[in-house]
Amino acid sequence: MFDTAALAPHGVCLLWRPELIWLHAISDALTGLAYWSIPVVLIIIARRRKDLIFPWAFDLFALFILACGLTHFAAIWTLWNPDYGIEGAIKGATALVSVATAVALWPLLPRILALPTHDDLAAANAALTREVAERRDAEARARSSEARFARFFQHVADGLFVVRATTEGFEFETVNPRFAALLGLPVQRIEGARPDSVLDPAAAAELMLALSTCLTSGTVQDWESGTAGEAPDGRHWHTVLVPLPPENDGAHRLLGSVRDISALRRLQADLTETARRAVIGTMAAGVAHEMSQPVNIIGLWAERGRAAMQDLPAIVRRALEVALDQTRRLGTLLDRMRDLTCEGGNGEAGPFDAAATAGSAVEVARRTWSLEGIAVEMEPPATGPLTVFGRSGLLEQAMLHILENARDAVEERRRRDPGAPARIAVALTLSPDGGALAISVRDTGGGVPTELGDRIFDPFVTTKDAGHGCGLGLPLAAGLVRALGGSLRWRNHGPGTAEAGAEFRIHLPLLGAQAPDRAA
């Protein structure tokens, strides 16, 4: 087949006409060169673009075109050399490659058609860009919201805390500065601590019970607590507990808020007390007025009867004297009942030295009762003048009423137990912040039943023996102290000892000092 002996070159068919020979030779050369340059481009693309979907198809195309090019060079060769066997073999190889390429290409058609177009990719790309932007936005919003919440948590007026429930119990995970301030402890001391290690036992027990209820029921707990009846030192709290949704770590957390409502409760108590006092005052005034008329008439007639007849029988004279004495006693009582309603009193209000005023009241009592064997002592205050605003006469009167009450208690105890000590001690102390003054009057009268509580300041509530006091001294003292903007409290001291007795404390705001509640 490759024997060329009997064959003539292709140029013979063209009769060696130069224009035909060169037309064929040049055309085939250009076509062949062009064919050969295409696979180079295809192979470079296939090698450089790693993302091509069907790289082997490029290789096949390259081989196919290379083969096609080779057939054109073979045609140039056979113009002068009759190697038709070799040319045929080349064509045969080209045919194989062409058929293989065509066979491989057809099944690819649907897959190539299914490839996303440039527009599809652009749209997908745009969608992707949008999604990325949205996510960034959401992240920024979340960060900003978290920053807002953090600032709120740090600076809100209420105490806030997050409690984590662990297998060992509850512990404070995070607390805000306000909560720490309410507890009077640094934040670091509370975070990580169990409630019973930072709260007093009663408050801790109350909180842990509420935490358990909140956790098991999943409901909001809302309650008020506090030390009852201890104002102005008493504290009242409003606490709310909210279960939080579980986080990634699976731990249960509760958010709590605490508000100090002491001032509100105190205000409410004061308002109630003021209203109650007003009712009592009005009633006392009415009773005093209505009683004063018959008492006046009895007294006038008894006095008139005694004066008119000098030689009365002894029993009638005695009867008139008893009636007169008793009207005098009633007169004193009526005077005090009238005083209950006039808390303002007379005289000019102004700044005065409470220590000096208390001292002069003590001096009056000391002189009056020294003969009765009752010692009245006053420790001089350590500091300079203790200036209070109001009418000094009110404080002096209040002190005298309290001292008189102490005297009555001491005397009554001595009637039962003649060896009992008879001492009344007055002391002046400043509150820790220096904003208020406490004047304490302690007696050795054995004390008062504690169940009386603040009822001791109600009119006609008395523990004294019949005929030894009408039970108006302390209500008057309380009214006078209130008129000075202060409060009067009492408690027993030294129970079971020889010195046992009651202590009455006048709390007065000092002039120029900030009120203690507002200092915080």
Partner: protein, 117 residues
């Protein structure tokens, strides 16, 4: 004397007369004012505060409108919250006595006020 309690008025009139005072008794403020307007002569007003028709405070005001220096002694079961100063309505002397009144104390007060003490 303006006093609405007849039993008090009766015993006061007797006792004061015995002490040498001439007493014109009126059962309330209006009656006292009527007497004064009818030309009754008197040197001092002794009055209760709470009375029907015309109370003591108003009686003092009206009488002192004509006689600013009229001496006044007030007997009351319930003194005014403002004290005796709130009753003053002229330059004349004014004393406040709370019930129950003692005759001896009242007589001493009346004499002191009349003397101008």
């Amino acid at each position: 004397m303006a006093e609405d309690e007849p039993l008090a008025a009766e015993v006061l009139q007797e006792a004061l007369t015995e002490e040498g005072f001439a007493v014109l008794a009126a059962p309330d403020g209006q009656a006292a004012l009527d007497m004064a307007e009818a030309g009754a002569g008197f040197d001092l007003l002794l009055t209760d505060l709470r009375m029907p028709r015309l109370d003591g405070q108003e009686l003092i005001r009206r009488l002192r409108a004509r006689r600013p220096d009229l001496p006044v002694v007030v007997m009351t079961g319930f003194p005014p919250p403002g004290g005796p100063d709130s009753l003053h309505d002229g330059p004349g002397p004014l004393r406040l006595m709370t019930k129950p009144i003692h005759i001896a104390g009242l007589v001493a007060t009346l004499r002191a006020v009349m003397r101008g003490d």
